[in-house]
């Protein structure tokens, strides 16, 4: 899967995107566990950020497949 990091998530990780090989699908909880393991600084954003795919926010019970592109969306502040 590909993970996109924006705003505070990009700052926390130091990267804007990365590819992470997956052999199976993940729950959103498993996704966060994996991402925080790779980037412990994301723990602070875990509860406040949302996940998005194809321009929609994911629901808690959505599955993430190996070919998905997932964006981490920290709390927004436009306008």
């Amino acid at each position: 899967m590909t993970v996109l990091y924006f705003a505070h998530a990009r700052r926390a990780t130091g990267i804007s995107d990365e590819k992470i090989p997956l052999s199976t699908s993940l729950s959103t909880t498993e996704f966060w566990d994996l991402i925080v393991q790779r980037h412990p600084t994301l723990e602070a954003l875990r509860t406040s950020s949302r996940l998005a795919r194809e321009n929609d926010f994911l629901r808690a019970d959505d599955r993430i497949e190996p070919d998905h592109e997932i964006a981490i969306i920290p709390p927004v502040s436009g306008g």
Binding site: F6, R11, A52, A71, I73, P74, V76, S77, G78, G79
Partner: protein
């Protein structure tokens, strides 16, 4: 409802609209950068967007809101990058037959934008 959305680093210059015969209201909002953030003086804000998602989310929100607030056209321009104090970060223009739906759609859209559109103030410059 016609929708035009622009997300770019270009300075926002509110356009002059030619209002057609069916339009009885043109409601505009310009959001500008204040000289302070969290009580501290600043010279600019830095905005970042995820344009590939922000544009379709804005369009979806406007289409949803137009079912309750019937308007003719909306134009949204959101600036990204460094925006200095006094400059516009966002400009919205709503054209409608009557003023009530124009005001209502504009206010409701700003509320939803601040909840769901992936645009961020990522830094302040002093």
């Amino acid at each position: 409802m016609d929708i035009e959305i622009v997300i770019s680093e270009a300075v926002i210059v509110p356009p002059v609209f030619c209002v057609n015969a069916g339009v009885g209201a043109l409601a505009e909002f310009t959001g500008t950068v204040r000289g302070e953030e969290n009580g501290e003086p600043i010279s600019a804000l830095v905005y970042e967007a995820y344009p590939a998602m922000a544009e379709p989310v804005m369009r979806r929100l406007l289409n949803e809101l137009s079912t309750a607030h019937s308007c003719i056209a909306v134009r949204v321009q959101h600036r990204t990058g460094i925006i200095r104090v006094g400059e516009a970060a966002i400009h919205i223009a709503v054209r409608a037959k009557h003023r009530a739906p124009a005001f209502a759609l504009l206010a409701a859209f700003m509320d939803r934008l601040k909840q769901d559109v992936p645009i961020w103030k990522i830094d302040t410059l002093s």
